[in-house]
Each structure stands twice: as structure tokens, then as C-alpha cells.
Symmetry: C2
Subunit: 143 residues, 2 copies
């Protein structure tokens, strides 16, 4: 498990200033995979009660731009964040409750990265979202 000083190092490595809010946000994203901004704000305030929501938004933006966290935003849901970066894995999203699980594509390393016709676009990423129902939501009424 990563420590606070690990996170500080990562921030420095990305040429970002090391601030308390940023370290706490990085910790929160690691501790709560696929959490939305509100959850992260809550987690951060568990440690730094006075952090403004704006600081969390700023930090998430900075961390995302630096590639230290990854933003996910399935259609119809608010933005989520995860700490697993650099491998372009994909996600399974529950239509009912919005829960997210990681998934690796069945087809090789860079799945579907080439569209049959790219329409002249310069493509740098293929994002795949699997839509369905999570185990809990696909089960009948019972627990």
C-alpha cells in the first residue's frame, strides 16, 4: 500500500506542487476506487476538515492532467476517478446503480484501437464501456 510520502513523490515527479489537499485527494482516490467527486470530498475532509470543494476540484483536474489519476464519466453519471492509470483498461457499468468494475478487453492489448474508417481523425485512445447490470441489480428482489 502506498504511503503519504509515496504520493508526495509522485506529485513532485509530475512537476506538481506538493500541497496537503493534493496529497489527501490522491490518497482518497487510491482508497476509494471509482468514487465520485462528492465521495472524494468527504474522504478528504475526514483528514483535512477545512478543505474547500474547489480545492478538490482543482486537485482532481491537476492530477488528471498530470496522468496520476484517471477520470471516468459514463453517460448519464457524474465523473468518477480511479488510481489505476497507464494501462487503458476498460469498465463495466451497471445501468441501474451506476457501480463500476474494471475489465480488460478480450481482444489483445489495444482493443479496437483502429476504427475501420477513422474519418480523417487522429485517434489516440479507444475507450470501451460495457453496459449491463451488476450482480446485485440483476438478482431478483431478494437479497
Amino acid at each position: 500500500m502506498a504511503t503519504a510520502s509515496d504520493f508526495r513523490q509522485r506529485l513532485r515527479g509530475a512537476a506538481l506542487r506538493v500541497t496537503r489537499p493534493r496529497v489527501a485527494v490522491l490518497e482518497a482516490v487510491h482508497a476509494h476506487p471509482h468514487a465520485d467527486t462528492d465521495t472524494i470530498i468527504g474522504a478528504v475532509r475526514g483528514e483535512l476538515p477545512k478543505v474547500s470543494h474547489q480545492a478538490v476540484y482543482n486537485s482532481l483536474r491537476a492530477l488528471t492532467d498530470a496522468g496520476l489519476v484517471r477520470r471516468i464519466q459514463p453517460a448519464g453519471f457524474v465523473a468518477r476517478y480511479e488510481s489505476r492509470v497507464g494501462d487503458n483498461h476498460h469498465h463495466v457499468v451497471c445501468r441501474a446503480c451506476g457501480s463500476i468494475a474494471d475489465a480488460d478487453c478480450a481482444v489483445g492489448e489495444a482493443p479496437c484501437l483502429t476504427a475501420s474508417d477513422d474519418r480523417g481523425f487522429t485517434i489516440d485512445e479507444a475507450e470501451v464501456v460495457y453496459w449491463g447490470l451488476c450482480p446485485a441489480c440483476s438478482a431478483p428482489e431478494s437479497a
Copy 2:
């Protein structure tokens, strides 16, 4: 090209009441592929100036639920609508200007439809978004 009576038939076929706003919305979606709600409101009002934005939102929801139009919502952009339905084709999205083009996946008919590990989810759709830059945005400053 589809006529107004074609659209009326499609609405009836989907067990939806045929109303002026719905016909106009269906026309607008066909005439403006990948348009956002605001654009559609504008197009609809070109024909029916008094239509409320709520009626357009209601219609788009009804048409989407009925499968007559498809909603697209790339991360960070507002919802768009298109009339090409039933083939689960994919999209190329420009990071800079948000423009969208259709794309068929290189890998067979149901690309990447099976994740290597579905985590117990019941998956019914694999959505693929190719991110990059459109020809206009990837070109240097010149025209």
C-alpha cells in the same frame, strides 16, 4: 429522405402518441446528426416556434426509450442524438471541438462485446468511443 408521414408511422409503430413536437423532434434529429439538445430545440422552433424546451426534452426521452433515436454522451460533453439506430455503431470524438463522426469497429460485428472478465455483470452492450482530433483541429493554425 424520410417524410413527415414516415415519422408519424414510426411513432405509431412504437406505440407513441403522434404529436407535433415529437414529429418535429424526430425530423430535427434526422436533419442534424449528432446535434445537442439546444440545437434540436432551435431546429424544432424553426417549424413550431412555440414549443417549450421541456417538450423537446420529453420527446427526446420518449424517442430514446422507444429506440427511435439514440443518445450519445461523450465524457465532458452534453448529450447528443442521432437517428442511426439498431446497428450499435461507434463514434469518433474530437477532444478539441467535440465534433462526432460515425465509425464501425474493425473487429467483427460485436466488437469487444465480451470482456475477459465480466465481474459477474450481465452485459448487454459494448460502447466504444474513439478519442482524438478531427481533421480541422489537428491541422496547424492555417485554414
